[in-house]
């Protein structure tokens, strides 16, 4: 009896303590998501004089044949895969260098982290100038090396524009991955490498057989963070190209922004949001599942 009431009282206190956070989450996450899902079932645009009219799934069927949507999804996927891959490779390289002890490592580590600490809009503007067709430092460099004869309009060329955005993003975010992976590298005991060296392994073999498998959790976490961020990329592209030229760098976020803010098509915009949300959730769930499995297989090995 008495124990029961004690438990009940504890539970009640627990609910009180959780309540503020719960309220916060409902207001900030649950409500907007639910509202978007609801709105996606309505047409609410200039055609309906901005009044919501229930149209069922028609927004979604429109999406299926919306070439611009598919192009932006393709751009987003390409941008995400390429930038995350490049950032992982470069980040791992930097982390491996920073993991060795050398004179001035602290300074180098701080410098390496700087790009990540700078505001994105600032970086975007800078990179826009770097890639400027007449005054850009990149064209200047290529001209001096004799690789091109006349300045290329990188941001204005549909074949190159996405690459310029990827370059800027890689420059900005690689340090983040490097620091994350560096933390992982530092948690690998040095004597594993010593044992492996005595077993006859070369540095290259140790990298594949020790470093990479033991770093996999950190690599997965970094990819997960970066995937979610890159998939929703907006600010960098908005400042650099605004989605142009001709939609060559238009990502889903930019398209959603245009749909809602420029074309005032709230219903269709909401449907786009819902689809993006589902894709992102699926990807994150998949990565989280992989991470848990990896942890289960690994972490047993870490407990001492």
């Amino acid at each position: 009896m008495r124990q029961d009431s004690l438990r009940q009282r504890e539970q009640r206190t627990g609910w009180w303590l959780v309540a503020p956070a719960l309220l916060f989450l409902i207001l900030i996450y649950a409500y907007p998501i639910a509202r978007s899902i609801g709105l996606s079932l309505f047409s609410q645009n200039l055609g309906t004089e901005l009044q919501p009219v229930f149209t069922g799934l028609s927004n979604y069927s429109r999406m299926a044949v919306d070439g611009r949507f598919w192009q932006s999804l393709g751009n987003t996927t390409l941008f995400t895969v390429l930038s995350v891959l490049l950032e992982l490779l470069l980040g791992l390289g930097i982390a491996l260098v920073l993991n060795r002890s050398f004179r001035g490592r602290g300074v180098v580590r701080t410098i390496a982290l700087l790009p990540w600490a700078l505001p994105t809009a600032l970086i975007a503007t800078t990179w826009t100038w770097i890639f400027n067709d007449q005054f850009g430092v990149w064209n200047d460099l290529l001209l001096r090396l004799g690789l091109i004869q006349t300045g290329v309009n990188w941001l204005g060329d549909p074949n190159w524009a996405l690459w310029t955005v990827i370059a800027a993003d890689v420059w900005k975010t690689t340090p983040f991955i490097a620091i994350l992976l560096l933390a992982g590298l530092q948690s690998i005991p040095a004597d594993l490498y010593e044992a492996h060296a005595i077993d006859g392994a070369t540095a290259w073999q140790s990298f594949w057989q020790i470093t990479l498998p033991l770093l996999l959790p950190q690599i997965l976490i970094a990819s997960l963070f970066r995937f979610a961020q890159a998939f929703g990329i907006f600010d960098l592209i908005q400042v650099m190209t605004g989605g142009g030229p001709g939609g060559a760098t238009e990502t889903v976020s930019i398209y959603i922004y245009a749909t809602i803010m420029r074309y005032l098509d709230f219903g269709y915009g909401a449907a786009l949001v819902v689809v993006t949300f589902v894709i992102l959730s699926l990807a994150v769930a998949l990565a989280a599942w992989g991470l848990t499995r990896l942890r289960a297989a690994h972490n047993l090995g870490d407990s001492r």
Partner: protein, 355 residues
């Protein structure tokens, strides 16, 4: 197989940091050599030099007729058991053992055969698919050993392999180690700061202090004839009694007692050493001239014996003696015999053994 020899090894990190000053020794096939000493004596550095994990500043390392001083660790054909075991956490027990053999491109059937043999011998059969994290401390230790044994190396190196086990397990594994390595036809170098391990396992013990070899001898000789004051005080528990006494030619003066020296010497002072377990009570008929009268100041019960701290009558000297716990010693006046065959004499300046 192959003899291991170290020739004038020196390791200098900085002018003030010289973990190993000058070490030369040889380890024959099948010999179990223990490097023993307090922390910072250079024993781990020596092991890492043999393994190739560090490069010596001076000196050479030979395995058989190969000069391996400049060779990378993997080419030396040695196996090492680490204090932390250094098991690869993401690999199964089987893969941990196979790793070194696969790196040598050994055929899978041969690998399987070797691992089978060693795992049966060490009782690891049922654990082959487990990860190190799923094993107990003792099992991990055994896997680390197995990983070294399957390699069939030219030299075995063991770096305090028992220090992460609890006391009970340590004693058991110590006995197992002795059995396992008794059959190995190679030099074995074992590093420890635990003198019990050194005494029980080794064929020879190298006592190191401050980067210098103090004594290289059989465990028995190390105990019965310590080469200097450091070895005398480091080996044996409870510690040997060491008294600085004034010297008068043929005698050392312990208060009013004259302790005869084996030979007359011309030193103003001499250090007398006697182990607590070698002090005994004077029997009623014995000449009281050689018996020391003393007051028991402290009794520590060690279970199988009592450790007594005794102040010698009318002197500032204290002696510690191990005596049978069958009577109560507290506050008693007793007379102790110093058996002349158990006395050690050292030079107070150099610390070297006199006789």
């Amino acid at each position: 197989m192959a003899k291991l020899s170290l020739r004038n090894l020196n390791k200098t990190f900085a002018p003030q940091v010289v973990p190993l000053k000058d070490l030369s020794l040889e380890v024959e096939d099948g010999e179990f050599l223990t490097l023993l000493g307090p922390s910072g004596c250079g024993k781990s550095t020596t092991l890492r030099l043999i393994a190739g994990l560090e490069q010596p500043t001076q000196g050479e390392i030979w395995i058989g007729d190969r000069d391996v001083t400049q060779q990378p660790p993997g080419d030396r054909n040695i196996a090492m058991v680490f204090q932390s075991y250094a098991l690869y956490p993401h690999m199964s027990v089987y893969d941990n053992m196979a790793s070194g053999l696969r790196l040598k491109r050994m055929p899978a059937t041969e690998i399987h055969h070797r691992i089978d043999e060693v795992s049966q011998f060490l009782g690891l059969d049922g654990l082959m698919q487990r990860k190190p994290g799923q094993l107990s401390g003792g099992q991990r230790q055994r896997v680390a050993l197995a990983r070294a044994l399957v390699r069939r190396p030219d030299v075995f190196l063991l770096d305090e392999p028992l220090s992460n086990l609890d006391a009970l397990l340590r004693e058991q594994v110590r006995a197992e180690l002795k059995q396992i390595f008794a059959d190995q036809p190679t030099p074995i170098v074992y590093v420890t700061h635990d003198q019990t391990e050194a005494m029980t396992l080794s064929t020879r013990v190298a006592v190191l202090n401050e980067g210098l070899l103090q004594q290289l001898d059989s465990p028995k000789r190390i105990y019965t004839r310590p080469a200097n004051r450091f070895v005398a005080s480091f080996i044996g528990s409870p510690q040997m009694n060491l008294l600085s006494l004034p010297c008068q030619g043929e005698y050392a003066l312990l208060g009013r007692y004259k302790v005869p020296l084996p030979q007359p010497i011309r030193l103003p002072e001499v250090v007398l050493g006697i182990r607590p377990e070698h002090l005994r009570l004077a029997r009623p008929g014995e000449t009281l001239a050689l018996a020391l009268q003393g007051q028991v100041m402290l009794v520590e019960n060690l279970g199988m014996s009592d450790l007594l701290s005794i102040q010698i009558e009318n002197t500032p000297y204290w002696l510690r003696a191990l005596l049978s716990p069958d009577q109560s010693w507290a506050d008693r006046q007793i007379s102790l015999m110093l058996p002349s065959e158990s006395l050690h004499w050292f030079d107070p300046q150099t610390g070297d053994r006199l006789f």
